[in-house]
Each structure stands twice: as structure tokens, then as C-alpha cells.
């Protein structure tokens, strides 16, 4: 068990991210270092425009890193082809899928695509895994509903179930709680916490819910203008990592209650 918990699923070494065009290179963030272990729930926080999405896009191979390396399961990201990567990393994005006339079950079954044949026929294992992820997220009653009939909260659970059905070691979520009310925000994060604990998946998500993330995540990646911190919430608080997260004119971090207060 000890060995398993020390297995590093995602590792970034001196990573710098940003955009490269023919004329110039625009670095958004640099010197990013972190190691995510098996079964850890990790939040990615930072102010708007600091480069959270750019970092996530780089980690998911949507764009190239400007420098440094990314390893998934000890293999360098650039060496992993798209299909192999699909079996190690699944995503929950902010893209709208409610335009689709698919049932929840069909949508979740799409998560099995990396494993299905050329026609996308579901094997017994695929059907089993689809049913299992419906169970884990507890959305069995939604199985036959159409995606466009769902509320934002339900849709987010379904997208999470789809990622789960993909059966990967690592799940990356881009702002999974953005459109949700407080109850559903906490609900989704509790669910992520449960998944990380029970299924030993490594889960990385970006969020603006700093207070909730502080109390629920195993570790946090905090992106700031000049430096990116990584550590447990306690370590980060004692290192004053949150003090200059935002400009200081409107909000300030209160270490005692470990939350942000409006001035």
C-alpha cells in the first residue's frame, strides 16, 4: 500500500507555459514544479488570467510547453500518443454538450471509446464500466434521460461519470464548479474527494472556490504572477502563499480562519 501511495502519476519539472507564435514567445507562467501522487485530490487556484487554463491545456497536450517536462506515469508526455494518453488521462471541460441529443448512458459510454473497436461497439466490459460509473456517481435514475434535459449540476455529474468510465489514473477538470450553486459546488468537490479516496484516482481541478478547496484538497497548486507554489494547504498557509494571491485593495487572506475576507 505504501508503494502504491508513492507512485507519481503526474509530474511537472521546471515547466513553463505560454504561447508561441512565429514572431514572439509569450510566457504566461514559468518554473512550475509539482508531483501528484496516486489517490490525491489537488486543486489549482489563482487569479483570473494568471494562466490556470494555459497550464491545464499544456498538461493535457492541447498545447506545447515552452520549456521543462511533463511526465504521466513516468513517461514523458511528448512520447505518449493520443490513444495511449486517452487511457491514462480523462478530462472534464467547460465545453457545452447539451446541444447533443444523446442519452446520459450513451454519453457516458462514449468514455469507453479508447477501448472500443473501429465501429465503437461496446463489449461486456465497456457496458459494465459504464454501469459502474453511473453507480459511483449515483446517477442511475438519470441513465435514460437526454443530456439537454439536465440541469447544470446534473450535467456536471454526468460529465464526471463519463471521465470515470474512461478508466484513467488521472482526471483533470477545468473549473468543474463554475456554474453551480454553493450546495452543488460542495457536492461535486465531496464527490471528487470520495473518488480520489475510494478509487485511488489522481484528480486535478482548477477552481475559484479557494475556501472550499483549502478545506477539502490534499494538495494545492497556487499560481501567482512571479511564482507557482505547491504543497498541502497547511504548508501553503504557513508559508504565506495566499497573501499576495490577489491585489490587496479589496480582499485579504486571514490565516486564522484560512479564508479570504472582504476588506
Amino acid at each position: 500500500m505504501k508503494k502504491e501511495s508513492e507512485h507519481i502519476v503526474l509530474k511537472a519539472t521546471d515547466l513553463s507555459v505560454g504561447y508561441q507564435s512565429k514572431k514572439q514567445t509569450h510566457t504566461v507562467a514559468k518554473h512550475i514544479n509539482f508531483e501528484l501522487k496516486k489517490g490525491e485530490l489537488v486543486g489549482l487556484i489563482g487569479a483570473n488570467g494568471i494562466g490556470k487554463s494555459t497550464l491545464l491545456r499544456t498538461l493535457t497536450k492541447t498545447q506545447q510547453p515552452l520549456g521543462g517536462t511533463i511526465h504521466i506515469n513516468n513517461q514523458e508526455l511528448t512520447q505518449i500518443n493520443q490513444l495511449t494518453l486517452a487511457k491514462q488521462l480523462s478530462l472534464v471541460l467547460t465545453e457545452n454538450v447539451s446541444q447533443t441529443n444523446l442519452s446520459v448512458q450513451e454519453l457516458i459510454a462514449l468514455g469507453r471509446q479508447p477501448y472500443t473497436n473501429w465501429l465503437g461497439t461496446l463489449s461486456a466490459t465497456d457496458i459494465e464500466k459504464t454501469a459502474a460509473s453511473l453507480d459511483v456517481i449515483q446517477i442511475n435514475e438519470l441513465a435514460q434521460k437526454k443530456c439537454f434535459e439536465l440541469s447544470d449540476g446534473q450535467l456536471q455529474k454526468v460529465m464526471l461519470a463519463r471521465a470515470l468510465a474512461q478508466d484513467t489514473d488521472l482526471i483533470i477538470l477545468d473549473e468543474p464548479t463554475t456554474h453551480l450553486d454553493l450546495y452543488h459546488k460542495v457536492y461535486i468537490l465531496k464527490l471528487l474527494q470520495k473518488l480520489a479516496k475510494e478509487t485511488h484516482k489522481t484528480i486535478l481541478f482548477s477552481t475559484h472556490e479557494i475556501n472550499v478547496a483549502l478545506s477539502m484538497c490534499d494538495k494545492l497548486i497556487v499560481m501567482k504572477q512571479d511564482k507557482t507554489h505547491f504543497g498541502t494547504p497547511q504548508e501553503l498557509i504557513s508559508n504565506n502563499a495566499f497573501d499576495d494571491l490577489f491585489p490587496k485593495d479589496l480582499v485579504e487572506f486571514d490565516a486564522d480562519s484560512s479564508s479570504f475576507k472582504i476588506k
Binding site: L93, E95, T100, N101, L102, L110, Q113
Partner: protein, 343 residues
């Protein structure tokens, strides 16, 4: 997973309707032939009049088969475009594909005098029309795709498709200006669309290209379902987007290009059939939609052709007029009935 039972029922009904429509189509025409003689002619029973047999075997059956291929092929290419662009208004016609085909054919028919001599004789075979049309439509669609890689906004791609249509129309106008009346008439008649005039040999050529397009479509079913979730999700499912896109474009240009070459630029079927099918089957799953569109496209086209025949009269309407008259109200009705149109 897909509750196959309920779909099987609809497929059986559609199959029966298709067979009925096919026979109805063969029975109806300018010359009225009694039903039992139609059957006799098909069974090559020599008891029936030889002129009737000739009409049935060499004219009506090829035309009905053409309608089958045209309806299903255009329906499929419309479906492919709607999913690829994630836009319910996409179709081969909207993206300027048939304008490209028109340009190719216009260059061959109207421009043949410019090339002159023996070369023009080669250019005017039916083969050259197919090739010209396919190349024309493929080039336009490729241009649209190149633009679509640069531009992320789907609306912009549709407008660019319309712009391509304007440009090709302008070139066709210029070619028309320098053409003889006879050439011009030939081009105009081509642009009306026609399911007749196809010999069994030409039908064979159409079928081969159609089959290539269809096989590519079947190989694309899995990627089409992934693309429903958008490019990013599709990529995260291990899909090679560029390759999938390319196969879908080639399939569309095989189907729509060859059909446009042989039957002219037939309007609205490519747009109406996928929506009608999505309404009947109530799903976006392409494992169901692809076969379903094949059926409903064939049926709708056979019905349109039967109407165009103006049974018992000696006149025939241009097929394009009928498909527009049937197709446009269908789209309007769909929009009024449902608030949402699905991709």
C-alpha cells in the same frame, strides 16, 4: 445499451415504406402501365408489351435506383457536415459544395469551346462531368476546412461558404456570357437536376463512388459520435481529429460530388433528411442515424420524384423545384414544432 428493440421496429416500418415507394415510383410515369404489366416487365416475362418492358427496365428502374442513391447519399453528406461543424444548418449546399460542383461542370460544359477541338470531345463525356464536379466540390470543401482550422467561429465558416458560392456563381456568369445558347441550355438543365437520363453503365459508376463514400462514412461513425462532444473532448478520447476530419470530407465529396455531377445540384435533401431522421429516431447516436438516414433519404427522394413525374400527365417538373417545395416547409415545420434543433 441502445435499446435495440424499439429502433428495430422503426427500421422495419421504414423498410416496408421504402419498398412500397420504390414500386410506386416505378409504376408511375408519363405512360400509364398497369401494375401487373410492371411486375411482368420486372420479372422479364415476355407476355407484356416490349415497349413497356423497355420503359420499365431501361428508364424507370434506373431512375428509381438513382433516386435511392441520391436521397440517401445527400442525406448522409448533410449529416456528416452537421456533425463535423456542430451546426444544425450545415449541409453540402450551405458550405458551397454544390456551387463548387456547379463551377466544375460549368467549366466543362460552358468552357469546352475555349479548350477547342478534340479535347472538348473528351471533356463532354459523362465521366468528365463526374470528375469535374467531384474536383470542384472537393476543392471548395477543402478551402472551407482550411478556413475552419484558422477560424474558430462556426458562423464565420458558414458565411465563408456562402461567399464561395457567390464567387463561383460570378465565374459561372462570366463563362455563360461567352457560351453558345446550346451550351447554356445544357448547363441550365443540368442545374435543374434530373434523376433520369442515367444509363445502367452510368449508374454503375455512380454506385461505385457512392459506395466508397458510404464505406468511409461507416468507418467514421465512431469519430462522428466523439465529435458530438466537440473537438477537445474528441481528442481526449484518443481521436486523431485531423485524420477523422479528412475522411469525413472525402466521404462527403465522394457522395455529394458524384451525385451532383450525375443528377445536378439537388436542393434541401441534404439539410431536411438528417433533421427529419433525428426527429423520428430522437437520437444523435450515429450508429442509429447513419442507417436511418439511408432509409429516410431514399424514401423522401422517391416520393419527390414521384411527385415530379406528375403521374398520368406528359410533363415532368424539375426535381430541384419539388425537393425545395417539400424540403423548405419540412424545415420550417421542424423549427416551429421544436425549440431546439440538434446537431
Amino acid at each position: 445499451m441502445e435499446t435495440p428493440k424499439s429502433y428495430t421496429k422503426i427500421f422495419i416500418v421504414l423498410l416496408i415504406v421504402l419498398v412500397v415507394c420504390f414500386f410506386l415510383n416505378i409504376c408511375l410515369g408519363s405512360v400509364s402501365i398497369p401494375f401487373k404489366d410492371v411486375v411482368a416487365a420486372i420479372l422479364e416475362d415476355n407476355s407484356t408489351k416490349s415497349s413497356w418492358q423497355h420503359i420499365i427496365i431501361n428508364y424507370r428502374i434506373p431512375k428509381a435506383v438513382t433516386a435511392l442513391l441520391v436521397g440517401s447519399g445527400l442525406g448522409i453528406s448533410g449529416l456528416l457536415m452537421q456533425t463535423l461543424f456542430r451546426n444544425p444548418l450545415a449541409g453540402p449546399y450551405v458550405l458551397g459544395l454544390s456551387s463548387g460542383a456547379s463551377l466544375g461542370v460549368a467549366i466543362v460544359i460552358l468552357g469546352s469551346s475555349l479548350f477547342g477541338g478534340a479535347f472538348s470531345a473528351v471533356l463532354l463525356t459523362k465521366w468528365s462531368l463526374v470528375i469535374a464536379s467531384s474536383i470542384g466540390s472537393f476543392l471548395v470543401l477543402l478551402a472551407v476546412i482550411l478556413v475552419s482550422i484558422k477560424v474558430k467561429d462556426t458562423m464565420a465558416i458558414l458565411i465563408i461558404g456562402l461567399m464561395f458560392a457567390s464567387v463561383t456563381a460570378a465565374i459561372v456568369n462570366m463563362l455563360s456570357y461567352f457560351s453558345t445558347a446550346e451550351q447554356l441550355q445544357r448547363y441550365v438543365f443540368w442545374s435543374f437536376g434530373s434523376l433520369g437520363n442515367l444509363s445502367w453503365n452510368e449508374l454503375l459508376i455512380l454506385s461505385v463512388i457512392y459506395l466508397i463514400g458510404l464505406i468511409l462514412t461507416i468507418f467514421s461513425i465512431k469519430s462522428l459520435n466523439a465529435l458530438l462532444l466537440g473537438d477537445h473532448y474528441a481528442k481526449s478520447l484518443g481521436l486523431n481529429i485531423k485524420k477523422a476530419r479528412f475522411i469525413i470530407i472525402v466521404a462527403t465529396s465522394c457522395l455529394a460530388g458524384s451525385i451532383t455531377a450525375f443528377a445536378g445540384p439537388i436542393a434541401f435533401i441534404g439539410l431536411a433528411v438528417p433533421h427529419l431522421t433525428k426527429l423520428i429516431f430522437d437520437t444523435s447516436n450515429h450508429r442509429i442515424l447513419v442507417p436511418a438516414v439511408l432509409f429516410s433519404g431514399s424514401i423522401l427522394m422517391l416520393i419527390c420524384d414521384s411527385i415530379a413525374q406528375l403521374p398520368t400527365s406528359e410533363y415532368t417538373l424539375p426535381i430541384n423545384a419539388v425537393t425545395s417545395l417539400v424540403g423548405a416547409p419540412v424545415i420550417i415545420w421542424l423549427l416551429m414544432r421544436k425549440k431546439k434543433m440538434f446537431v
